[in-house]
């Protein structure tokens, strides 16, 4: 293709000036972008208001497309499903049988639990979710793992609140608009959830790896006690998440912990519940944070 002649400014002063101004503004644009980037890396909350308002404006469109989302599969699963249908069927049947047995066991344990609690005089406090909402999209082109939620401060959602699906913890609310908010998924590189193993009190941090898995980082180093198939639940440390929400299933053992798969895959979770921050003291700290930043 021949070069476009339109770019030759020739002897026209005006054309020369406008070409020059174009370069100048483009270079300035890059510089402004770099400055804002440094600012938002330094203070990640700087542009939260702008982002939430923009999300509010476009969220209705996302809500419509979110409604059409098929309720069980991600894209990759959908394609892979065709190849694994037979073996998967056999495996699922076997797993269903196992699950039925486990269910009976769990019922027994639950009954025993209730009995022991009654002995202790403890009362199970039921956590009432703040809102039920739908995940309407995610930052699927970026290495950050944030999702958009179809509920905002108008529904009582506040930053810091845990978001959970039917299978387990999904993430926590990061920024809220009026009718939509952004959720930091537990698989994001900046997310860190205090967890413990279900069967004993091995405590750890579940850190996101940005590729859909979690890194279980043990707090007490030494002999690695984690085995494949262990399930980790929130420990309640830090006060954000109430204890006992399922988080992850261990897949591979590493030298300092394990790589785990999140139990609640956000790709297959449509409806989520936003729960209140567990410990009110933590809520006070979160509420104080923006005020400190404003100073």
């Amino acid at each position: 293709m021949a070069p476009p002649t339109i770019r030759r400014s020739g002897h026209s002063r005006k054309a020369q000036f406008s070409a020059f101004t174009g370069y100048l503004i483009a270079a300035l644009g890059a510089a402004i972008g770099a400055l804002l980037l440094v600012l938002s890396l330094w203070r990640p909350e700087s542009f939260a208001t702008l982002r939430s308002e923009a999300t509010d404006v476009v969220a209705p469109a996302g809500r419509v497309s979110g409604a059409t989302r098929s309720d069980s599969l991600t894209i990759v699963d959908m394609v892979a499903g065709y190849f694994h249908a037979g073996s998967q069927n056999a495996r699922l049947k076997r797993e269903a049988d196992e699950a039925r047995i486990r269910l009976r066991e769990a019922e027994a344990v639950e009954a025993e639990n209730r009995h022991l609690k009654a002995l202790l005089g403890l009362r199970e406090t039921e956590v009432k979710p703040v809102a039920f909402a739908r995940l309407i999209g995610s930052t699927s082109a970026s290495t950050r793992r944030l999702a958009y939620l179809s509920a905002g401060s108008g529904d009582g959602v506040k930053p810091g609140m845990p978001v959970r699906g039917p299978m387990g913890l999904v993430g926590r609310v990061l920024e809220t608009g009026d009718s939509a908010s952004r959720v930091l998924l537990i698989t994001d590189g900046a997310s860190m959830v205090p967890v413990r193993r279900t069967k004993d009190d091995v405590v750890a941090f579940a850190e996101g790896r940005a590729d859909g898995t979690l890194h279980i980082r043990l707090i007490n180093l030494g002999v690695n006690p984690i085995r494949k198939g262990d399930v980790f639940v929130t420990s309640g440390t830090g006060g954000l998440y109430r204890p006992g929400i399922p988080v992850a299933l261990v897949d591979t053992i590493t030298s300092d912990g394990a790589i785990a798969l999140p139990l609640s895959n956000p790709g297959t979770t449509i409806y989520v519940a936003v729960e209140p921050v567990w410990v009110p003291q933590a809520e006070a700290v979160i509420a104080a944070e923006p005020a400190e930043q404003a100073e």
Binding site: M1, A2, P3, P4, I6, R7, G22, Y23, I25, A26, A27, L28, G29, A30, A31, I32, G33, A34, L35, L36, L37, V38, L39, S40, L41, P44, S46, F47, L50, R51, A54, T55, V58, A59, A61, S65, G66, T68, R69, T74, I75, V76, I136, G137, S138, T139, S140, A141, S142, T143, R144, R145, T187, A190, G208, A210, D211, G212, P266, G267
Partner: protein
Amino acid sequence: MIGENAPPPPGSRFGRTINRDHLPILAQGLPLATILIGSLAPLLPIVAAGPVVPPFGFMTLLAWRIVRPGLLPLWIGLPLGAFDDLFSGQPFGCAMMLWSLAMLALEAIEARFPWRGFWQDWAAASALLAAYLGISALVAGAGFEPRYLTLIVPQLLLSILLFPIIARMVAMFDRIRLYRVRVVD
């Protein structure tokens, strides 16, 4: 009688020429609209486990710049990048900087190799996409690990393979853009 069987008037692929002209909103606004819609890709109903969806906004910008040099002003990366930053999940300013730099880089490539072809355009776009995704992962703001660069490889390959298709779509939009719909009295 002749009029019924006569072929359409020659000389234009863009509809009737007599008494018709381009619509300024369409001619100037369609490129911007397609890029803005590309930037809204995070609102697609895909909650992905990793970075898998190509950066549609950036790819559409590159395609318009390559298909129609000189149509978008050189500084357009700044406002369009700001819009993209609102939804992409990257820290604010990332796309503003990278899109502006990409416009400058394409200008430099075009000045250096004026006689362009399909392969050169694809190579230039691929190089820019690789740089864009790489730097985006670097400054994503969640603590960079070298592992993140292997994480974007599938996304990068998909973007590179998809680029000629996006460029084709942009060429189609370009024909719509120049369709003569305004009636001149």
